[in-house]
């Protein structure tokens, strides 16, 4: 399912003394099945941008097409849009409210008008997808869980709606390394299995570089970079300007290139970089 954004502008409290532009003239296209990373420092407008994609906020001007549905058109049913686009907010565990885990995950599907039975099936499936396979805990209160588990339940709550586009806003914020790893690998697996379009908002270049096939960089309400990871990482200065840093591997690669080593641009992940360094060292040896 494709998303097309044209000349999107969003101004908060237009006309008042607190007027603030959150998004300035952003145009972009996201293709079916892509895994896109959206990065930018705090307040760069990335959260505002994703809230437009399922109609939670309306643009001041511009147009958004989600799978052919025009979000600016008043006749477009927001329910249809939200069925297609699942949005997992930052710290989603704060939205849990039901008595039991299972009921909480069923909340979304039931809002879509599914029967209790169907909603429960979907909920169980979604909970397994996020790695909560132990059925005995489904009847527990979500407030009894640990932080990482709560987050997974909250993510399951959106997955159970079976969106064709999944947007995650900083899914690993505030988690310990193990929790991050679990969430990231479940996102990766979900993308591969379900063939959904995935947009992940993140501060972490490392997370984004590991998973995404394309990276969007926002800075001061504008979309300043849009390209494959190697294209973006080749432009380290611009990233610094946007208040971001290269992932450690890409930075190492760049420094090695600066020191005269032959490291290809696409070696920004640990595995590839290792190979590139070994190759480069091997060649060095043969010359000596």
């Amino acid at each position: 399912m494709s998303i097309e954004i044209r000349n999107l502008i969003h101004t908060y409290m237009a006309g008042g003394p607190f007027e603030r532009t959150a998004i300035e003239d952003v145009s972009l296209t996201i293709e079916d099945g892509e895994f896109v990373g959206l990065i930018g420092h705090t307040g760069s407008g990335k959260s505002t941008l994703i809230m437009h994609l399922n109609g939670l906020i309306k643009p001041t001007s511009g147009s958004i097409l989600v799978d052919g549905l025009d979000l600016m058109d008043k006749k477009t049913s927001l329910k249809d849009v939200r069925k297609k686009v699942g949005l997992v907010f930052q710290y989603p565990e704060y939205q849990l409210f039901e008595e039991t885990i299972l009921k909480d995950v069923m909340f979304g599907p039931k809002n879509l008008g599914l029967s209790d039975q169907e909603a429960e099936e979907r909920a169980r499936h979604a909970l397994r997808q996020v790695g909560l396979a132990d059925e005995s805990m489904y009847e527990k209160s979500p407030f009894e869980l640990s932080g990482g588990q709560k987050r997974r339940v909250a993510i399951a709550g959106v997955l159970a709606m079976k969106p064709t586009t999944l947007i995650l806003d900083e899914p690993t914020a505030g988690l310990d390394p193990r929790g991050r790893e679990e969430i990231l690998s479940l996102i990766k697996r979900y993308h591969e299995e379900e063939k959904v379009t995935l947009i992940m908002v993140s501060h972490s270049m490392t997370d984004v570089s590991r998973l995404c096939s394309r990276i969007l960089v926002m800075d001061h309400s504008r979309l300043v970079m849009n390209g494959t990871p190697d294209e973006v990482f080749m432009n380290g200065d611009r990233l610094m300007q946007a208040g971001l840093a290269l992932p450690p591997c890409a930075e190492l690669a760049e420094r090695l290139r600066g020191a005269g080593f032959d490291i290809p641009a696409d070696a920004y992940r640990p595995g590839e970089l290792k190979q590139a360094i070994l190759r480069s060292l091997g060649r060095g040896k043969s010359h000596a």
Binding site: M13, P17, M51, N54, L56, K79, R82, K83, G86, L87, F89, P92, Y94, Q95, L96, F97, F107, G108, N111, L112, F143, G157, V158, M161
Partner: protein, 263 residues
């Protein structure tokens, strides 16, 4: 939808109204309210309107903000007007139609009542728009201090007030966030009958309460970690001081009040 609330909002500035001592502002607002409710003639109200309007102009606050503050209570004013209009036992009948009986006295009374409420809102708006919540509670604490001799917890009350005020924007932001998150899950807060709508609030209220309690707990912990022990012997960074501005304002307000009562 939560952006529209201006009641109780502070707009920073540097007018004489902003520079006044909060204690003076609170006391003078009370005096003004007394004046507004004792005034009983058209001349009195004209004078009060001019006075408050003039003060508003001097405060250099966009008048739109002051007028916007009337919006939430507009219907209350309207209701008061009509109740006073219809249930008034005057002599001079203007209109009589079935049980409806509008008298001249009733009309005058109803208009005065509506004017009073309007002026009341303007006065308090001027106070809250030009005084930061912290200054406001500070002033209130100092004003209530004498009562602590008879066991009135003036410091605690002020502290509770400033904490409550401090968290209003936070809670509103939180409400907005949770609302959006549940809407993304297909929740519908806007349609359906009253019972359904009340039920729809549950996914909003439960997380909101949970987070409010968590916040309260964290705040209490943080305050204790910094050895907070109530108001005894605390000194202040900003010591309140009455200045010439306060004296001038007091003189003006007292003159206005005398005018409103005499005429």
């Amino acid at each position: 939808m939560l952006d529209n609330i201006t009641l109780g909002q502070y707009l920073p500035g540097n007018s004489f109204l902003h520079r006044m001592d909060p204690r003076a502002k609170i006391l003078l607002t009370v005096v003004m309210i007394v004046a507004v409710f004792t005034a009983n003639t058209w001349i009195g109200y004209a004078g009060l309107f001019l006075f408050i309007g003039g003060t508003a102009l001097l405060s250099r606050i966009n008048l739109k903000f002051i007028i916007k503050g009337v919006k939430p209570i507009f219907y209350i004013i309207l209701l008061t007007f009509f109740i006073n209009l219809f249930f008034n036992s005057g002599e001079t009948v203007l209109v009589e139609w079935g049980v409806v009986r509008i008298t001249k006295e009733g009309l005058v009374n109803a208009t005065f009542m509506a004017l009073r409420l309007l002026l009341l809102v303007f006065c308090t708006q001027l106070l809250t728009l030009t005084t930061s919540p912290i200054a406001l509670t500070d002033g209130l604490e100092r004003l209530l201090k004498p009562l602590s001799k008879i066991g009135f917890p003036s410091h605690e009350l002020a502290m509770m007030m400033s904490i409550a005020l401090r968290f209003i924007p936070t809670l509103m932001e939180e409400t907005d966030k949770i609302m959006k998150a549940q809407m993304a899950r297909g929740a519908d807060f806007e349609s359906g009958n009253l019972i359904n709508r009340a039920k729809a609030m549950l996914p909003l209220l439960v997380p909101l309460f949970v987070s409010a309690f968590r916040r309260a707990d964290e705040l209490a912990m943080a305050m204790e970690a910094r050895c907070y022990r109530g108001g005894d012997n605390r000194t202040r960074m900003k010591v309140l001081k009455f200045t010439k501005v306060d004296a001038i304002a007091a003189a003006a307000v007292l003159a206005m009040t005398a005018f409103a009562i005499i005429f």
